[in-house]
Symmetry: C2
Subunit: 384 residues, 2 copies
């Protein structure tokens, strides 16, 4: 076993999930994530934790959903068209997560599009029926990571060995040091009232967008439940902006509902998207923006600070944390960023859009430049 | 997908586990049993059941147990030598099985000896700590089966394609018809008081052994929870004999605690083994017989009636159900065979030993021949 697999397991168990002796830990292992599953089980045994291992197979999920569709054919007792009527109290899964202290999800299937032929009606019906299960799962110390697989390498357009190096560069950081650095960014955002992002481009619309962050709290997402952060890798600082004005261009491609979307341009007035375009996938973008009222307003401003991630791999787990990037998301805001009791932007969607800010860019807070061309003001080489 | 995989799934879900709409079903999928896991998930979706999928990986189990050993090194707080002190109330797994209606275990790992280097102290400590989990699991409608894998083919000494044919011949039976035939055998055993087995051999000791079955109830093990039968394939009728006299020779090799044992010869007096020998592995046999008082008395007499199984494959799931075989087990008796409230042979072990009865053999109940040279009295060609 590559020693980095064991190091990945140790970061996941100790830094990310903070597992202690006696904890009841549920681990979900995707089809090709066996090796990391083995290393995590070994680490949990060493720590004196209990482990229950789920098989997180997308192909099994697809088979169950397609079987449910076939079983429901012609039966519309739930009145929702052809979608199967799923049991909305699946006792085993609820009991499982209610009894768990931590949940470690290890992605890495054989095919990133394994569930592509499941209808969106069925997906929605299933997600709706599993709401209690999802809530019980989110109430644990949950962390989501991936084992580098050939299917993820393929999605990233990379060779397998090359992709493994990429993943371990992103995951095996000095998280303590990165958390300290990100604390400076969080401090600047928490103290500020207005953020402005400016990027000048030769071959595309410029970005010049301003938003209020007054009264909002930034999350130092340092890949640990101790920081309210549930992804490994992480390495971003994010908050929940509002009252957005101006225009923004996103040069990093993304995938929305299996459609490739690129070169998104948004125009904001009074906090809402009033005009938009995309170089590809404009219909998918339109469909997102039309979901509900919140889908036209921002829910997140995120600053990518993980310099171990040095390229885009068509995976939001990695892309949005890349150093020298900033992302904005339309849709739902995270509760952790909002004042106690305030609901913020409440939407059914949350779609991240990413900009490379390594050149001709600056991030200002209350008129003061905090990042220029990717370099933060506390770093060597910063030009204020 | 081979259509037989789907047929296997249908037999497992419908005939064996009797799954109905709304049932909460836990499925455990071994490392290389993915394909059958997919087919079972599809079938459960079609039936309208809920499914939770566990990863039944022996390599993950080994890693957890070895990790626990490493973590416990030098810590003997439990006073049991070097064995790890496992939590005796693993909340997640208990909650999981307590909420489940059915449990389908699909074996088929990558290596049938994957846990060979885990110490017996650790195994025992783990099994002891999981007693409540095991009881909750046994309280469900549980069924154990295997997906044909290369590792099982190798253990059987067979080519992969050949082994797949073997498994499907054993599993895809007309179970209804076999259950009817086995009912005749159960009836004969339930009505009888004494069983005598006689086999004359040229090259080995003869078998001539008698035992009482008065007051005992035979189980028609027809591969369905509706018949108190939890294996797929099954196809045996078994009861709990006592007061055994005579001698028996077992020509089918077996594996006891990773030791190959063959040509076992047992001599019974007053219900107990008073002399024994083996052509190989005699120490392993002696160790079994010395476990406790019950280990020297019989716990089971089983009649193999699945003619889809036509060869020995070094797997008790198949071997003991083979047509034209009879097996005797020393050790623990099954409660289902005993009068209400009677405990029967209570031992920590249960070791099955198998004889080929296709030639020079007869099975008598109360002096009447019921099976001769493998042919039952209700079959064509029976010579009484």
């Amino acid at each position: 076993m590559d020693e980095r697999v064991r190091e990945h397991a140790a970061v996941l168990v100790d830094w990310s999930a903070r597992v202690e002796a006696g904890d009841d830990v549920v681990v979900s292992v995707a089809e090709d994530a066996h090796e990391l599953g083995v290393a995590v089980a070994e680490a949990l045994g060493e720590r004196g934790a209990n482990v229950t291992t789920l098989y997180g197979s997308d192909e099994v999920s697809r088979a169950y959903l397609k079987g449910s569709e076939a079983g429901a054919e012609g039966d519309d007792s739930a009145g929702d068209g052809d979608a199967p009527a799923f049991d909305d109290d699946p006792a085993v899964e609820r009991a499982l997560f209610e009894a768990a202290d931590a949940y470690l999800r290890i992605g890495g299937g054989r095919n990133t599009t394994a569930t592509a032929d499941v209808s969106s009606e069925t997906r929605r019906a299933y997600a709706k029926a599993r709401r209690d299960v999802r809530e019980a799962r989110m109430d644990t110390d949950w962390v989501s990571t991936v084992h580098p697989t050939r299917s993820l390498a393929q999605q990233a357009g990379m060779a397998y060995e090359e992709y493994r190096d990429f993943v371990y560069d992103a995951v095996l950081r000095d998280w303590e040091a990165l958390a300290d650095e990100m604390a400076a960014m969080k401090e600047a955002l928490d103290a500020g009232d207005e953020v402005r992002i400016v990027t000048e481009r030769d071959d595309a619309p410029d970005t010049d967008v301003s938003m209020s962050i007054a009264g909002r709290t930034a999350v130092n997402s340092a890949a640990s439940v101790a920081y309210d952060s549930h992804n490994l890798p992480s390495g971003e600082v994010f908050t929940a902006p509002y009252d957005t004005e101006g225009e923004a261009f996103f040069d990093v491609p993304m995938t929305i509902d299996a459609t490739r979307v690129r070169d998104v341009h948004l125009v904001f007035e009074d906090g809402e998207v009033v005009d938009f375009s995309a170089g590809a996938g404009e219909d998918a973008l339109a469909s997102v923006l039309d979901t509900d009222a919140g889908a036209r307003r921002l829910g997140e401003l995120g600053i990518g600070m993980n310099r171990g991630i040095d390229r885009f791999t068509d995976s939001i787990l990695f892309d949005e944390k890349m150093g020298d990037t900033i992302h904005l998301a339309v849709g739902r805001a995270y509760d952790a960023c909002l004042p106690e009791g305030e609901s913020g932007n409440d939407s059914a969607v949350h779609v991240d859009m990413i900009s490379d800010v390594s050149e001709n860019s600056r991030l200002e807070i209350d008129g003061e430049v905090v990042q220029r061309n990717g370099t933060f003001r506390w770093e060597d080489g910063f030009e204020g």
